[in-house]
């Protein structure tokens, strides 16, 4: 296999919990705790998980919008976790981000034309005329018209605003686009339009996507590979067919079983998991999922499972797949 475009190793982000009149740190929220994965050129890596699992924090650290506590991020063979701000700017030309809320991520006082031109000015690309031309060309690419450049964000619908957000991300001709919940604020009928647009753009511009979302249906639709996060860890990572057809981690199984299926004939087989997601400021010992896991064993409360490949291209962090137990689960399935 070729070299990955992006390589993430042992990425961590701990937020301090501060208290007291003279603030001092009383604990840590382990938002992202030792996450490693590779992203290959031209693919879409989906990252799914429930609120607080660290998926957005991970996305932000890849852009260094948040400074990692530890870990290495290598992009196109260059380590970016230790670059200076100036060096980082050059790399950010190749990594762009699309945000969830198209209402909050566009400056209401700027016209769409100005919003789109800004990344070009920041990166010193082209002269005024060339920049204008690029703005209009990208507006057309995302399905908007020339006259939209003179309008303000409030004059657009949610779906159109997200098109602007996507156009802005593509202005600098990036290699990697990190999309953090890009369609979750949109209505179902408009969501489909934006997903189709993203797929078309990927094909036309040979883009690589990291697609962060909580909607499992959307993630399956758009991703080649999917990573599932729970309380700061990636618990399972596999090709999307393999993950959805044969989920290995009990959490992935529970997550998939919980999604409402738009088919009245569908009968749910798996049991729903009980309990809530524990607080990331005080995560359970051992495997963080043991408090809700139907297959909990003694080892799970004591020892953190190692994230390892158990089938080609399918990795999981679960004690059930330690060699000794491997056969048991096969039988119980």
């Amino acid at each position: 296999m070729s070299e990955p475009l992006l390589k993430v190793e042992g990425l961590k982000k701990y937020f301090p919990i501060q208290a007291g009149l003279i603030t001092h740190t009383v604990g840590q929220v382990k938002a992202v705790d030792d996450v490693s994965f590779d992203v290959y050129e031209g693919e879409t890596l989906g990252i799914v998980g429930e609120s607080g699992c660290g998926k957005s924090t991970t996305g932000r650290m890849l852009m260094r919008l948040l400074e990692p506590t530890a870990g290495r991020i290598t992009f196109s063979g260059r380590e970016i976790s230790e670059l200076s701000n100036k060096e980082l700017r050059a790399v950010r030309r190749d990594i762009q981000m699309v945000f969830q809320d198209p209402y909050a991520s566009l400056n209401p006082r700027h016209t769409i034309g100005k919003i789109l031109e800004e990344p070009l000015i920041v990166h010193g690309i082209g002269n005024a005329k060339e920049r204008k031309a690029r703005v209009l060309s990208l507006l057309n690419t995302v399905g908007l018209s020339d006259f939209h450049a003179k309008r303000y964000p409030h004059q657009f619908s949610g779906g159109q605003r997200q098109r602007v957000g996507i156009a802005r991300a593509l202005m600098t001709n990036p290699k990697l686009v990190i999309a953090d919940e890009p369609v979750s604020a949109l209505d179902v009928s408009v969501q489909a339009q934006v997903l189709n647009l993203m797929q078309d753009l990927q094909r036309d511009f040979k883009l690589t996507y990291i697609f962060i979302a909580h909607d499992l249906g959307v993630v399956r639709h758009i991703s080649n590979r999917v990573g599932v996060m729970y309380l700061g860890h990636i618990v399972e990572l596999a090709g999307s067919e393999s993950l959805y057809e044969e989920p290995l981690h009990p959490y992935t199984q529970a997550l998939l079983a919980a999604v409402p299926i738009p088919d009245p004939d569908f009968k749910r087989e798996a049991e729903l998991i009980k309990g809530d997601i524990p607080s990331p400021s005080n995560p359970p010992s051992g495997c963080t999922f043991h408090t809700r896991c139907p297959f909990k064993m003694d080892i799970c409360t004591q020892q953190e499972p190692i994230f390892k490949e158990v089938k080609p291209g399918h990795s999981v962090a679960c004690h059930l797949y330690n060699d000794a137990h491997h056969n048991d689960i096969k039988q119980s399935n």
Partner: protein, 335 residues
């Protein structure tokens, strides 16, 4: 036939804005039957929430006002009720839960305090002990652990799922006939959503409370409801049994909506996308509300407004293609 509990007839709710009146709900009629779960599905601005707030008498006025129609409950028209009279209905006969459980609970009062308040409003003569016992009983019923301890907790000490359970307990504490649930699981994580939906189905069976489930998620409708009403642009565009609507949707909007969901069970090559955007409330005044985005639209659709045509005894569709005599033509267009 089940007993009809609530009958909404040609309801019309208008918001008087600076830019002129906007009809958010425009001639909506439907019935809610005893013990059923009725889904009301639609995208933002379709009028589903305004319909439910109209039933509860909670339309902020000004700028909103019910400008037409009737809401019949127990042979009385709720639209004619005073605020004081509505207060007797709310909670006791018709209760409501909202999307965001954190903002619907008062952060300054304990869970127990808020639950007992809900009871004492309608049962002024009950002794304190009985009220407390009823609150604890309800908390246990909705699956809250350690009810006695939680009674003294404040909302911020609870997780999102537990807060929504508290909201459900509070809504059901006076044994209402109707529960209106407005996007009750939208703010929750998938695993918690599944728990809350299972709980609502279970309570519906055990207490025989009729539920009006307002949602944008067709998955939620398929899982919980028996009948469904599809809304678009302030009107009902299709109505029927859930099985029938999913198997043979008649209105092009319903068809498009069903096709545009990415199904988690298999991968579609490309999603069907309804072209265009969801219209702003009140922006379409002539013809069919969906005509501008409809791939089957013909001239008549932009001039005349279709009525709700009966497709089968329990199934209606607001589309000229569902009119008697048009169905053959439809088969031609579709093929």
């Amino acid at each position: 036939m089940k007993k009809e509990l609530l009958n909404v007839i040609e309801l019309e709710t208008t918001f008087f804005t600076d830019d002129g009146p906007v009809k958010a709900v425009d001639g909506v009629s439907f019935s809610l039957y005893e013990g059923e779960i009725l889904g009301v599905v639609g995208e933002s601005g379709c009028g589903k929430s305004v319909t439910s707030l109209s039933i509860m008498g909670l339309i902020p006025s000004p700028p909103g006002k019910i400008t037409g129609g009737e809401i019949m409950y127990k042979e009385q028209d709720l639209t004619t009720f005073s605020q004081k009279a509505m207060r007797k209905i709310r909670g006791k006969d018709i209760a409501m839960i909202f999307q965001e459980p954190m903002t619907s609970l008062n952060p300054l009062f304990t869970i127990g305090n808020q639950l007992t308040e809900a009871i004492s409003i309608h049962h002024k003569d009950w002794p304190k002990k009985q009220i407390r016992a009823r609150a604890i009983e309800m908390m246990t019923l909705v699956g809250l652990p350690r009810a006695e301890e939680l009674f003294k907790d404040y909302p911020h000490q609870l997780s999102g799922g537990m807060r929504q359970r508290v909201m459900i307990a509070m809504a059901l504490v006076c044994d209402p006939n109707i529960l209106i649930a407005d996007e009750p699981t939208t703010a929750l994580d998938v695993t918690i959503q599944a728990q809350i939906l299972a709980l609502m189905k279970d309570l519906n069976r055990r207490l025989n409370t009729a539920v009006m489930m307002i949602t944008h998620d067709l998955g939620v409708v398929a899982e919980t409801c028996e009948r469904v009403v599809v809304m678009y642009g302030g009107k009902i565009v299709e109505e029927g049994l859930v099985d029938e609507i999913f198997k043979s949707p008649q209105h092009p909007y319903t068809q498009g909506l069903i096709q545009s969901i990415p199904d988690m069970r298999y991968k579609k090559q490309r999603l069907y996308a309804i072209p265009g955007n969801v219209p702003k409330p009140g922006s379409v005044v002539q013809g069919c509300r969906f005509a501008a985005r409809c791939e089957f639209a013909f001239e008549r659709c932009t001039i005349e407004e279709p009525e709700l045509y009966v497709v089968s005894p329990q199934h209606k569709s607001r589309c000229f293609l569902s009119e008697e005599g048009m169905r053959n033509e439809r088969a031609v267009i579709e093929s």
